[in-house]
């Protein structure tokens, strides 16, 4: 079970145990991580589960879909180099101990 470190918009850190195979968004919701709204619950329809990942994780996760890429330009908080929709990321061991930042809108 990897540990995910959510860095909240206010600066605090919330470390949680995650289940492999679940999405990063589900992990955030299960732990009531503030700032992850996920109105469409993972259908990649709403862009309200925006997170920012470190560079090395971005490359390890592989390319993002064109759909997600387009959606990210319209998330509430401005897009950054490490921006992803957390509903499109499957939890795996490569996320263990990784800092997942919730950008402030």
């Amino acid at each position: 079970m990897p540990t995910i470190r959510f860095l909240l918009a206010g600066g605090e850190e919330l470390a949680v145990e995650a289940l492999n195979g679940r999405s990063l968004m589900e992990t955030a919701l299960e732990n009531s991580v503030p700032g992850i709204v996920a109105e469409c619950n993972g259908s990649a329809a709403c862009a309200t589960c925006h997170v920012v990942l470190p560079d090395q994780i971005m490359s390890a996760l592989g390319p993002i879909s064109e759909h997600e890429n387009d959606m990210l330009d319209f998330a509430e908080a401005p897009r950054e180099a490490g921006s992803r929709l957390s509903c499109q990321i499957k939890v795996s061991d490569i996320l263990d101990n990784v800092a997942v930042r919730i950008p402030s809108a």
Binding site: S32, S43, M71
Partner: protein, 420 residues
């Protein structure tokens, strides 16, 4: 009457009061969450007739039906969330009646629950085929609740041929899932096109072309005159005489607001539980949100069956119970997944709107709806950029020049800067 700010019901309920919410779907859950977020410190009781913790409905007919999403993952909140937020969850509990004089609910288990404010979030139910057509035959399904899908799931894997009655979103989504699962799929729609009540002809035609290209067979402009079979359904005879063989039938013929409890309590019912622009019924202590609520707005009655409306209207009602006195400003948005099409809709179009088609770079395109030169809705078909630009323009009440929308050489981002 209840608009009187001195009416006791207009004071925000204090720490010694009880808010009861009937209906533990998306709207009921959101109302509970937002009441706490807006500082309600009293007792909060969320009552659900189904035995399950509040769950998401959109994946039911897709990933859950296919066994790709376990039941556990449908939950809107983890189970311990309710206790943490001091929300008393009463599952498997029907509400039989509202005693408006005593301000008390009579429960199916014989108990009673006194309330200071009541939120009706009873949702909607699937319209059923007339008995004369269905004749109670096994093998006919509707798609609304977890229990509906659990029943369907058992039959789904054993069946090769699906007949869908109704060419709306539910019917088309299940048609796409079944076809992707290798089933032979026929769709019967009484109107002469798909999505007749909910989308433009342009969008419906694009959806129809996609389904046809994947092998779904359509029978438009004809109804089902009878379902065939003696022990269980084996097919259907259509109004035009065509006979279609089927192992299972899904009726996707629309939803109806669940209003029985409100009606029995003497509250006004007009295509749903009638509420004012603040979400309050004629009884100053009773509010309604989500699929069941019909809001009286300056532009007319507004009742929507969607996740977005469930969340937003519940949020509004929670704020207004806490004294905000704000009118509902709906920002309608919807989505539908069919095959590899993601349809995203912002705003509400209606027949007669002028439709401008914007062809995207790749396979994507969008349909822009104008009424008296005012932008009223955008459908994005695999076109999330168009959808989001449209959604932002709608939120800002800015209408782009239709000629710019039509011209793919005009960048979308500049549309957002067009003068109103």
């Amino acid at each position: 009457m209840h608009r009187d700010p001195n009416h006791p019901a207009s004071a925000s309920p204090g720490g010694d009061s009880t808010v009861a919410i009937v209906g533990a779907g998306q709207a009921g859950l959101s109302a509970a969450e937002k009441l706490r977020a807006n500082g309600f410190a009293g007792s909060l009781v969320l009552i659900g007739e189904e035995p399950h913790h509040p769950y998401q409905r959109p994946p039911l007919s897709k990933d859950y039906l296919l066994g790709e999403l376990e039941r556990e993952r449908l939950k809107l909140k983890p189970e311990d969330w309710y206790a943490k937020n001091q929300i008393s969850l009463r599952l498997g509990t029907g509400v039989v009646a509202i005693d408006r004089t005593l301000r008390s609910l009579r429960l199916a288990d014989g108990g009673a629950l006194a309330y200071d404010r009541l939120v009706l979030a009873t949702g909607s139910k699937a319209r059923l085929l007339p008995d004369a057509v269905s004749r109670g035959l096994p093998g006919i399904f509707t798609i609304r609740s977890l229990a509906d899908i659990d029943r369907l799931r058992e039959a789904f894997d054993k069946s090769g041929r699906l007949l869908v009655i109704g060419g709306g979103y539910i019917g088309l989504e299940i048609a796409a899932v079944a076809r992707g699962h290798g089933m032979a799929v026929n769709v019967v729609e009484a109107a002469d096109r798909l999505l007749a009540r909910v989308a433009s002809a342009e969008t419906a035609n694009a959806v129809e072309a996609l389904h046809r290209s994947r092998g779904v067979l359509f029978h438009l402009g004809t109804g089902v005159s009878e379902l065939l079979g003696s022990d269980r359904v084996t097919g259907a005879r259509l109004g035009d005489g065509t006979v279609i063989a089927a192992d299972i039938v899904v009726a996707g013929i629309g939803g109806m607001p669940e209003t029985a409890l409100a009606a029995e309590a003497g509250l006004a019912i007009e295509n749903g539980v009638a509420v004012d622009s603040h979400g309050r019924t004629e009884d100053p202590y009773i509010w309604a949100a989500g699929d069941c609520a019909n809001f009286s707005l300056p532009e007319g009655g507004l009742r929507m069956e969607s996740v977005g409306n469930a969340i937003d209207s519940a949020d509004l009602v929670a704020r207004n119970i806490m004294g905000a006195r704000q009118p509902y400003k709906p920002k309608p948005w919807f989505w539908s997944d069919q095959f590899d099409l993601k349809l995203q809709i912002a705003g509400l179009s209606r027949p007669g709107d002028t439709v401008v088609v914007r062809q995207g770079q790749g396979a994507g395109r969008s349909h822009w709806y104008f009424r008296e030169n005012r932008l009223v809705a955008v459908d994005g078909l695999n076109a999330p950029r168009d959808y989001f630009v449209g959604k932002r323009l709608l939120a800002a009440a800015v209408s782009p020049d239709p000629a710019h929308v039509l011209d793919p050489a005009v960048a979308l981002e500049t549309l957002a800067k067009s003068p109103a």
